[in-house]
């Protein structure tokens, strides 16, 4: 018999899985990313439906409770993802700058006294 929390989490995870599938079909997220998130949510599904597996996992790692191991793994994963997002934003920032730079260089408007040999604009 499922407990209330199990039903709640199950609904939530099923919803997340549906998002992954839909976005993957729309090609909004690449296949690799879809696989990554599917693995995350499917392991969550196992943890919810068979809580004993998390306890066993905790036993292997020498952690007291099943819930604890999940919290630890999630935290590590979250930090890693935040880092990835940070790097991605930095890359985007850099791309925007080089775009802005290219536009500026291409539109270099010469002052009236312009001399030959300069890069001409437009």
């Amino acid at each position: 018999m499922l407990t209330a929390i199990q039903i709640f989490l199950l609904a939530l995870v099923l919803f997340f899985i549906s998002r992954v599938v839909l976005r993957a079909r729309e090609k909004v997220i690449p296949a690799k990313t879809a696989v990554f998130w599917s693995i995350i949510w499917l392991s969550a599904l196992i943890g919810i439906l068979l809580p004993k597996t998390t306890t066993q996992l905790a036993g292997i790692f020498g952690v007291g409770r099943g819930v604890d191991i999940i919290v630890y793994i999630s935290l590590v994963l979250l930090f890693y993802l935040v880092f990835r997002v940070y790097v991605m934003i930095e890359d985007l920032r850099r791309d925007i700058t080089s775009l802005v730079r290219q536009i500026a260089l291409q539109n270099a408007s010469m002052p009236p006294k312009s001399t030959a040999g300069k890069k001409s604009g437009r």
């Binding site: 940070y86 790097v87 930095e90 920032r93 850099r94 925007i96 700058t97 802005v100 730079r101 536009i103 500026a104 260089l105 539109n107 270099a108 408007s109 010469m110 002052p111 009236p112 006294k113 312009s114 040999g117 300069k118 890069k119």
Partner: protein
């Protein structure tokens, strides 16, 4: 010898005309001096005012920061065949006469990169600025192992080879530390020349805010850990 003076500017319409007018027209040993203003997505009339002074203006369509604007200027200067590139702030805090002083070591083949240091010689600098500049120097030394008495100075001169070798990527204020780090990495001859900073009410208001020091420090640290 062709000298290109790069003036990165962000919202400097009030002073840029005066600054551009004050730039030297002739320096011994330099055949030609050209000036280029990089308008870094200013919200005011900076580009218009600069163009009125009969000076070439490159415009960033978006504000990308002092580092990005400087880089655009250097790239452009290289494309028009500059032998020496000088960066000069648009807010009027540098003394135009110092340009000749920082170009000299390159002309005499003594240096590849010259930093116009506001701190090499004791001079009147507001105490808060003095402390922040030294914190900037200390950070650069600790993170990159490169020392300069004024890592944050906007007045620099690059030889052609220095401009080719120094590859800085920071868009914002951290780029000044990066330049020194790059110079060290390529074993360039770096010289510091004492220059005179003019701290007017305007340049103090317009320049880096003291509170900006922390984000700059954090980003420098992150860049180091990345």
């Amino acid at each position: 010898m062709k000298l290109v003076i790069v003036v990165p500017a962000y919202n400097e319409s009030q002073v840029i005309e005066k600054v551009l007018k004050s730039l030297p027209k002739k320096i011994d040993g330099i055949g030609k001096i050209e000036t280029v203003v990089i308008d870094d997505g200013s919200l005011d009339q900076t580009a218009k005012v600069a163009k009125r002074s009969n000076i070439l203006v490159l415009s960033h369509v978006l504000n990308r920061g002092a580092g990005a604007a400087t880089r655009t200027g250097i790239d452009f200067a290289k494309s028009i065949g500059a032998d020496i590139i000088v960066t000069f702030d648009a807010d009027g805090q540098h003394n135009p006469d110092d340009i000749e002083k920082i170009v000299r070591p390159i002309l005499e083949n003594r240096a590849d990169l010259v930093i116009g240091s506001r701190l090499k010689k004791r001079q009147k600098m507001p105490i808060d600025r003095f402390i922040l500049n030294w914190l900037g120097n200390l950070t650069t030394l600790l993170l990159f192992g490169a020392f300069s008495t004024d890592t944050q100075s906007g007045l620099r001169a690059f030889s052609k080879s220095a401009a080719d070798l120094i590859d800085f990527k920071s868009d914002r204020m951290e780029f000044s530390s990066e330049i020194i780090q790059e110079a060290k990495r390529h074993r360039l001859k770096v010289e510091e020349v004492p220059t005179h900073a003019i701290y007017t009410q305007y340049s103090r208001l317009k320049g880096q805010k003291n509170t900006n020091a922390l984000p700059v420090f954090t980003r420098t640290l992150i860049k180091f850990l990345r």
